[in-house]
C-alpha cells in the first residue's frame, strides 16, 4: 500500500471528520468505527497492514457512500479493493465480453422472470437488447464482478450498452438500466404511495448526473426513498459480495427494516436486482422491479 498523492492510495488524506460513517451500512449494522472508512484510514495511518484489518476490510460493501461524501476526496472504494487484493495475494486479470445488454448473474439465476419486461423496456426506448452473437436468455457469462470485489481479480473496463445490475459496474462502462428508467418515467405506471429503492452504487458513484433523476422521481410521486439528508443513497448490503456470496454475511433483514422504518408505503419498487430480492424476502410488502411497472 502506498500513501499520498498521485496514483497512490490516499488514505493519508483522511482528516477524520466522520462524514463517511453517516450512511455506512457496516456502521449502521454494528456501530463499530473500525469497520468504516474513517476507521480503516486511521488504522492505516497508524501503520497497520491488511493482515491486521481483515474484519474491517471485509465489512465494506462498496456502496460508495463514503467516497461521495468525503470532503478530502479519499478514494475509499479503491483502498478497500487494494486491501482485499493484498489479502488475497494474487489477483487474476478478468476479461468480460462486450455486450449490448448485461443482465448480471442475479437476474439470470435468481430472477429470470424479469428478463421479458427488461427487454420490452429496452425495445420501447430503442435500445437493442442484443448484438449479433448475444443471447439474452442464456449465453451471458458471469462478468467476474464478485471476484473483483473479493480481491481475487483486477477490474476490467469492458464496454456494454446497458447493464441491468449495478454490481456489474465494477466491470463495465455502460448505461444503467435503472437510470434509463428514470429518463423514461412516462412509460411506467407508478401509483403512489410507494417506496422506491434507488441503486446506491449508481447514485453515490455518479452522483452529479444520476441523483437529480431520482430526486425528480421523488418530487413527481412524493414517494419515500433510500436517500438521506445528504442526498446520498443508503444500501441494504444485498447487492454486494457479502450479500450475494453469503461470505461474511450481513443482516440484510435488519437493513431492510431500518430503511422502511418511517415508510408506510405498501409497495416497493426498485431497479436493483439484488435489492429487489431482498425486499421481496424481508419486507413483507409487495415488491416490484421497475420494468414490471411498464404500462
Amino acid at each position: 500500500m502506498s500513501d499520498g498523492a498521485g496514483g497512490g492510495l490516499n488514505f493519508g488524506d483522511c482528516i477524520g471528520c466522520g462524514l463517511c460513517i453517516l450512511g455506512c451500512p457496516a456502521y449502521e449494522e454494528t456501530g463499530f468505527d473500525v469497520l468504516t472508512a474513517r476507521g480503516r484510514n486511521k488504522a492505516l495511518q497508524s501503520g497497520l497492514a491488511a493482515g491486521d484489518m481483515v474484519e474491517p476490510i471485509w465489512a465494506c460493501t462498496l456502496c460508495g457512500y463514503c467516497d461521495a461524501i468525503c470532503p478530502s476526496r479519499v478514494r475509499n472504494v479503491d483502498i478497500v479493493l487494494q486491501l482485499r487484493r493484498d489479502l488475497a495475494g494474487q489477483a487474476i486479470a478478468s476479461a468480460p465480453a462486450a455486450r449490448a445488454l448485461v443482465l448480471g448473474c442475479t437476474i439470470r439465476d435468481r430472477a429470470p422472470h424479469l428478463i421479458p419486461s427488461i427487454t420490452e423496456f429496452l425495445r420501447r426506448i430503442g435500445r437493442p437488447a442484443d448484438l449479433p452473437g448475444d443471447n439474452v436468455d442464456g449465453a451471458e457469462a458471469c462478468c467476474g464482478s464478485l471476484d473483483v470485489e473479493a480481491g481475487l481479480a483486477t477490474p476490467a473496463r469492458a464496454t456494454a450498452g446497458v447493464v441491468a445490475d449495478p454490481i456489474c459496474f465494477e466491470q463495465y462502462d455502460a448505461e444503467c438500466l435503472g437510470v434509463l428508467a428514470m429518463q423514461h418515467l412516462d412509460l411506467f405506471d407508478l401509483k403512489p404511495p410507494f417506496y422506491y429503492f434507488a441503486p446506491h452504487r449508481i447514485v453515490n458513484r455518479d452522483h452529479a448526473r444520476v441523483y437529480p433523476l431520482y430526486d425528480a422521481l421523488r418530487r413527481r410521486y412524493g414517494c419515500d426513498m433510500n436517500l438521506d439528508l445528504n442526498r446520498l443513497a443508503r444500501s441494504t448490503s444485498a447487492g454486494s459480495v457479502q450479500g450475494l456470496s453469503g461470505r461474511n454475511s450481513r443482516d440484510i433483514s435488519a437493513a431492510v427494516a431500518r430503511l422502511l422504518e418511517h415508510s408506510k408505503a405498501e409497495r416497493i419498487i426498485t431497479c436493483s436486482p439484488a435489492d429487489y430480492l431482498a425486499f421481496r424476502t424481508h419486507s413483507g410488502r409487495e415488491t416490484l422491479f421497475i420494468t414490471e411497472c411498464l404500462r
Partner: protein
C-alpha cells in the same frame, strides 16, 4: 461475524482508529475500546474502572480539537452505539446521547421537526455537545445546544444511573461540565418545526462595522440566524438566515462592486500581494456555491441547512491539522477582541478566517460557572473563532500552540474566556476561572469520582499531579 454482542475490543485496528481526534494534534492508543449500547453498559464500565482505578475516556463524534477525547491508556468508551430516538412529543425529543446531530435530524424529519440548536458540525454527538455547549447560527435566539436540554439520564462516575431535570443541581453540573461529573446517556432536548432557511450574505471591508451590524440584528431580533465570516481581514461577510419571509435589515454593508474596487486599489498599491488573489478566488469558489446548490436550494431557501453547513465547514476548515482557538467575549470587547485576534493571526499565518457569532444566555445559571460562557450580566455572549487556513502548508505543533496561547491571552486580557479550555489548553483553566472556582469544582469532581477515572486529564490535574 459482526457480533453486536462483543462490546469490548482490544485488537490493534479497533484501538488504532481512535488514535486522534478532530484536531489531530494529540495522539494516543487506548488499552481497550468499549462500545456502550446502554446506560447499564456505561455503569458497568465505570464501576469496574472505579474499582481498578482505570482511566476512562468518553468519546462521541471524536471531534474535540485539543485531545479531550483521545485516550493514551485505559478504556476508550465509545458512546455512538447509543443512537436511538426513543420518543418525541412534538416539543421535546428523548434521545440517546450517542446520536449524532445528523441522526437526530434524520429521525426528526419524518415528523416534520428539527432540533432547536446544535453545532454546525453534525457529526458531534448529543452527549458530547451538551458537555461543552454547542453553538449554532441560531444561537443568538436559542442559546447553546446545552441550553436545549430539559432532562438527562446520567451515569455517575461511580456507576449509578440517575435521572435529572431542569432545576436539579446535578443537571447544572453535568451540562457544560466537560464530561467531568458523569456520562450523559440520554437527553430530552427541545425540538421545533422544521423550516428551510433563506440565506443572504452582505459584504464589509471593516470587521468592526460587520460585528456592530450583527449585534444590532441580534438585539432587534431581526433575523432567525446570523454570523460573521471573514475571507480576509478586510473582506468580511455577514451571513443572515430567515426561516420565513426575508426582511430588510438595519445594516451598513458595502456594495460588492465597491469591495472589489477597494481590493483592486489595494493591489495596485501593493502588487506583491497579488499572490492572495488565487487564494481568495479558491475560498470564494469553495464557499458560495454550497449556498446555491440546486440539490439543497429550492424556492430561494436552503433545505437541510444543517447538512449544507456541516459539509461546508469540513470543506472550508477541514485539513490534516485543525486549529480553532476561540474566544467567548463580552459585547463591549467584541470588536477589540476581533481586531487584536486578527493581528495575532497575521503574525502566525498568511491566511486565516474569523467566524463570529452571538450566543444567548439565560440568566445566571450555575451551569455557566466554569464554562465558555463568561460570568457577566450581558444577555448574550460573543464568540469568535480564529482559524488559520493552511493551504497545504505544514506547521509544527509548537507553532500552533504559540498561536493558540496568543489568542487565548487576548481573550483573558479582555475579560473573556475560551470555548475550548480542556486537553492541551488545560493550563489556561486556572487563569480563566481563578483558583477558588477551580478548586471548588475539583472538589465536586473528587466527591463524585473518588478514583478520578472519568476523562481524568481533560480539565483538572489528577491527584498525583496535584
Amino acid at each position: 461475524m459482526y457480533n453486536r454482542g462483543v462490546l469490548l475490543r482490544t485488537d490493534r485496528a479497533s484501538r488504532a482508529c481512535y488514535r486522534t481526534d478532530g484536531g489531530q494534534v494529540v495522539y494516543g492508543f487506548p488499552d481497550a475500546v468499549v462500545h456502550a449500547r446502554s446506560a447499564e453498559d456505561v455503569a458497568q464500565v465505570l464501576r469496574t474502572a472505579q474499582r481498578d482505578c482505570t482511566p476512562v475516556t468518553c468519546r462521541g463524534g471524536g471531534l474535540t480539537t485539543e485531545g479531550e477525547s483521545v485516550a493514551a491508556r485505559g478504556i476508550l468508551l465509545d458512546l455512538k452505539g447509543m443512537h436511538r430516538l426513543i420518543d418525541c412529543d412534538g416539543d421535546t425529543a428523548w434521545v440517546e446521547a450517542g446520536m449524532t446531530w445528523h441522526e437526530v435530524a434524520e429521525a426528526l424529519r419524518p415528523r416534520g421537526l428539527d432540533y432547536t440548536s446544535a453545532p454546525l458540525n453534525m457529526l458531534s454527538t448529543v452527549g458530547g455537545t451538551l458537555g461543552v455547549g454547542g453553538i449554532d447560527v441560531n444561537s443568538p435566539r436559542h442559546g447553546c445546544a446545552a441550553d436545549q436540554a430539559v432532562e438527562l439520564e446520567v451515569v455517575t462516575p461511580t456507576g449509578d444511573i440517575v435521572s435529572v431535570k431542569e432545576g436539579d443541581e446535578y443537571l447544572e453540573r453535568v451540562l457544560f461540565g466537560y464530561g467531568q461529573f458523569g456520562v450523559i446517556t440520554k437527553a430530552r432536548i427541545k425540538v421545533r418545526p422544521y423550516r428551510p432557511m433563506a440565506v443572504r450574505h452582505f459584504l464589509y471591508t471593516d470587521i468592526g462595522v460587520a460585528l456592530a451590524d450583527m449585534t444590532r440584528i441580534v438585539e432587534e431580533d431581526a433575523a432567525d440566524a446570523c454570523a460573521v465570516l471573514t475571507l480576509r481581514d478586510d473582506v468580511v461577510a455577514l451571513i443572515v438566515g430567515f426561516e420565513g419571509a426575508v426582511k430588510a435589515l438595519p445594516i451598513r454593508s458595502t456594495p460588492e462592486p465597491v469591495v472589489y474596487a477597494k481590493m483592486a486599489l489595494q493591489y495596485a498599491r501593493r502588487p506583491w500581494k497579488l499572490g492572495d488573489v488565487p487564494f481568495l478566488l479558491r475560498r470564494k469558489a469553495g464557499l458560495l456555491p454550497a449556498l446555491h446548490d440546486p440539490l439543497f436550494v429550492h424556492d430561494g431557501a436552503v433545505h437541510d441547512r444543517t447538512v449544507v453547513f456541516s459539509r461546508l465547514i469540513w470543506r472550508y476548515w477541514g485539513g490534516p491539522q485543525v486549529v480553532i482557538p476561540d474566544l467567548a467575549i463580552t459585547k463591549a470587547n467584541f470588536e477589540a477582541a476581533a481586531r487584536r485576534g486578527i493581528e495575532v493571526c497575521k503574525k502566525y499565518f498568511p491566511y486565516f478566517t474569523l467566524y463570529a457569532v452571538m450566543i444567548r444566555k439565560f440568566g445566571p445559571r450555575p451551569r455557566y460557572e466554569m464554562s465558555a460562557i463568561p460570568a457577566t450580566d450581558d444577555d448574550h455572549v460573543c464568540g469568535i473563532e480564529f482559524s488559520p487556513l493552511l493551504e497545504g502548508a505544514r506547521y509544527s505543533r509548537d507553532h500552533f500552540q504559540r498561536f493558540k496561547n496568543a489568542i487565548y491571552d487576548v481573550g483573558l486580557e479582555l475579560g473573556g474566556s475560551c470555548y475550548r479550555f480542556g486537553g492541551v489548553m488545560k493550563p489556561y483553566v486556572r487563569r480563566m476561572f481563578g483558583d477558588e472556582m477551580v478548586n471548588r469544582h475539583r472538589a465536586m469532581k473528587h466527591q463524585l469520582d473518588p478514583s478520578f477515572i472519568l476523562n481524568r486529564d481533560v480539565v483538572f490535574d489528577p491527584p498525583e499531579a496535584a
